[in-house]
Symmetry: C2
Subunit: 486 residues, 2 copies
């Protein structure tokens, strides 16, 4: 079933991007309500084809059925959330400042809204064949913004990408969305060319640090650089205070094992390093890891990368192997490592590095006040988690440390599981992402594919409807600086 | 008076950025109301020192007194506008999504707000010694966001930069803002080092395309890339339709001459190219340009660059020199050039290039429908202007062309003069700026120096006050997806 798709040729890629560019102004001109209708049609089509799509995803990504069905549900939920965002309209950040001779500086009538950037290239992720791939979050938010999308299929699930594309294209056509708004391309070289193609206006990417950085470098070294929204890598540190360990140690370590091995550790939010007090009893944790079944990894490339990473961590003189995972017919069983705080700080570049797959590192610390030293050793993170008690002396400083390096700070929970909601941030400073001002999950992800345009002294009939007096499209607007109202 | 300041040494720069980084969390923790008070204190201090600052600006930038006083007023207005933005608080984009078991995907309590990036390096502009320099828009918006600022002084006005810095530092100290939040550095090499310094978190820049691109390339090739908000260059095309020319030709050409020569053409929004119908009477325009007095340019470097640029345009085989400006004791008199639409399209890379100073190009077109071909030849622009009539057949398409390439679209006006208000966009696709999602003028400029952080399941007392139940800081918030309210 996982027959590789033939690579898209340069000529085919040109044609795809020319169609996307030609469709861009037509898509941008569609009222938001029609784009919302189209997104819902896509969601309905995918839900309706679940029984076709899920077995393909299972075969290509080696995930169990429940995971695939859950992820498909998340994907269509996401598409419908962006439809809601479009219907509300605040995402346009519409503002109207009428001419005002008393303003303090010269002020003609100026009216602003956000407009779509143009064709967006989306790189599907290996580990979320639905939710971060062909019709995933980047695609949903870019289409919602009014940008045509060209998806570079992940080679790990080519058939699912092809089937999904067929459904998306058909649903968009039935919704009378202009032809050319959505297309799929295949092949490493086609991906590189798509990033440097003059008609591409932005890129969305979820993947590894080396792969993402190489494409980022291409995007920013173009004659006309474009935004590159890459979600690359994170070790998602978890700090367990002495008080929390004393109060709930067994429960915390149990949760840790579950989160670190979920989906065979193939989450960008996997807790890759957890800090526990010296003397904490790790016996049950070791037994838990030893008892966990092996699980297949996504594909050979992921498996090879994981084998290299886990070998390096296991062989590192600063680490102790508590449980050595092994590769067998069923896949990899999980690996548990340990080091001390001083060793971690001394070898932070080696040890605070994402190892994508079922491996995680326990760091034992002597004095919990010294946990704050970890802040200086951490690069940007998607998440930081703190397990503490409410009156915990360490809690405020650890939460502040988290906010200083991460896009999401979690209390007494686990980083795996990223709620699709308004207030979510799935982002963070580099290398968690290449654009820390944004999120790739949640309703504000749409902002990545928009830019502001101001209309100065433009007569009513020539203004976009969203900016006309009387507000014919009922868009929330900030008028004369007052908070937006409908 | 324009004694060059000594270059900041690498050791001094390290110390400046270390102080800024140490001050960053303290500044971020100040309530927004206290940052607002500090911005107003800075504005008051600058206004109070006008009689000291203005003569220095006049001497260093060769601008007349009224221009300098006006620009200082714009600068302090801008600081106070950001104080208002802080007090309102919507800029935080605070959102609260309570836990919801019925949401459709797992949803714990998640709460989001924007946090400051950390130390920002600001490059002062040559042509706005106040409003885009030491205490200008980038500085005001970064300080408002809660980011320490290190200004790289423009070498064209070192003494004004030094005096302004003294006033800013004293006013911040009196407002009990942490020491280290603001500093000035000097020298080309210090600027480069500041962009690549590991403690720098973002850069604001206003200047030339080559200079800005070189610094942008440094920012994005760091081991940890940082956002570079550069406003680089624009030719600000103006389209005059046949109907507008017939109705108001003389008035339009009069306005054009005024806008193109304002401030000796040294505005990033100078109309560098204007499209008029073939057969339009340019006699009065030529006479106007011939009669205009010479004006000094900002400094020798600008004068040299202008001389090269105007020589190249004048000598270009596709242009006709209508008025050849000359350099004399009083500075440069303005240059007026002409070409035809076909020649422009054929040589667009040569002719649609910013020539910073008093020179501008008239393009005569045969059939106004062919103006739409210009869209394909234009790079990103700060502004596009359309002079038309309300029932003008060309108006909708030309305004759409404007919105597709520019950050601001002006009707029957002129691009010089950028209102400092909420709905303003001073930005646009590359090379107008390096970050088209943003503006460097207006209240939303603050967004450049912020990133979102989401708090998941964090108990009330450990949340930032802006996200606590009961809203103790009265911040507008989007709760459960509903529009923000106080």
């Amino acid at each position: 079933m996982t027959t590789a798709a033939p690579d898209t040729t340069p000529e085919e890629l040109d044609a795809v991007l020319e169609r996307a560019a030609a469709a861009a102004p037509l898509l941008a001109a569609l009222p938001a309500s029609e784009r919302a209708r189209a997104l819902r049609a896509v969601a309905d089509a995918l839900d309706g084809a679940a029984d076709t799509l899920v077995p393909v995803a299972m075969a290509e990504a080696h995930y169990p059925e429940a995971r695939c069905r859950g992820e498909l549900g998340r994907t269509t939920f996401q598409l419908r959330l962006f439809a809601d965002v479009l219907e509300e309209g605040e995402y346009l950040e519409a503002m109207i400042d009428p001419a005002d001779p008393d303003w303090g500086t010269p002020r003609p009538d100026v009216r602003r809204l956000l407009v779509p950037l143009g064709p967006v290239v989306v790189f599907g992720a290996s580990n979320f064949p639905f939710a971060f791939s062909t019709a995933g979050g980047d695609t949903a938010s870019a289409l919602a913004a009014g940008c045509p999308v060209v998806v570079k299929a992940h080679p790990g699930h080519p058939e699912l990408a092809r089937l999904t594309t067929e459904l998306v294209v058909a649903a968009l056509a039935e919704s009378e969305v202009p032809e050319g708004v959505f297309a799929l391309v295949n092949g490493f070289e086609a991906g590189r060319r798509a990033v440097t193609h003059p008609l591409t206006r932005a890129v969305g990417f979820t993947g590894s640090i080396p792969g993402g950085r190489a494409l980022y470098d291409l995007a920013v070294s173009r004659p006309e650089p474009i935004p590159f929204y890459g979600e690359l890598g994170s070790v998602n540190p978890v700090f367990v205070t002495r008080a929390a360990m004393a109060a709930r140690g067994a429960e915390i370590l149990d949760g840790y094992a579950g989160s670190a091995t979920l989906g065979a550790g193939q989450f960008c939010t996997k807790p890759g390093v957890v800090f526990v007090p010296e003397g904490a009893d790790l016996g049950a944790l070791v037994a838990d890891f030893e008892g966990r079944a092996a699980a297949p990894l996504l594909n050979d490339r992921v498996a090879e990368g994981f084998a290299r990473g886990v070998d390096a961590l296991s062989a590192h003189p600063a680490t102790e192997v508590l449980v050595r995972g092994r590769e067998g017919a069923e896949g990899w069983s999980p690996t548990l490592l340990r080091t001390g705080l001083d060793s971690l700080l001394e070898h932070s570049e080696d040890l605070l590095t994402e190892c994508f797959g079922p491996a995680t590192l326990v760091v034992t610390y002597p004095d919990e006040r010294r946990l704050l030293e970890v802040g200086g050793a951490l690069h940007g993170q998607l998440t930081v988690t703190v397990h503490g008690e409410e009156d915990d002396p360490m809690a405020p400083a650890l939460l502040a440390l988290g906010a200083s390096v991460a896009g999401r700070v979690i209390w007494n929970g686990w980083p795996t599981g990223v709620a699709v909601t308004h207030a979510m941030t799935h982002g963070g400073p580099y290398p968690a992402t290449t654009a820390s001002a944004h999120t790739s999950v949640g309703s504000t992800a749409i902002r990545r594919f928009l830019r502001p345009v101001t209309y100065q002294s433009v007569p009513q009939p020539l203004l976009p409807p969203e900016l006309r007096d009387g507000n014919p499209r009922s868009v929330p607007r900030r008028v004369n600086g007052a908070l937006p109202t409908e």
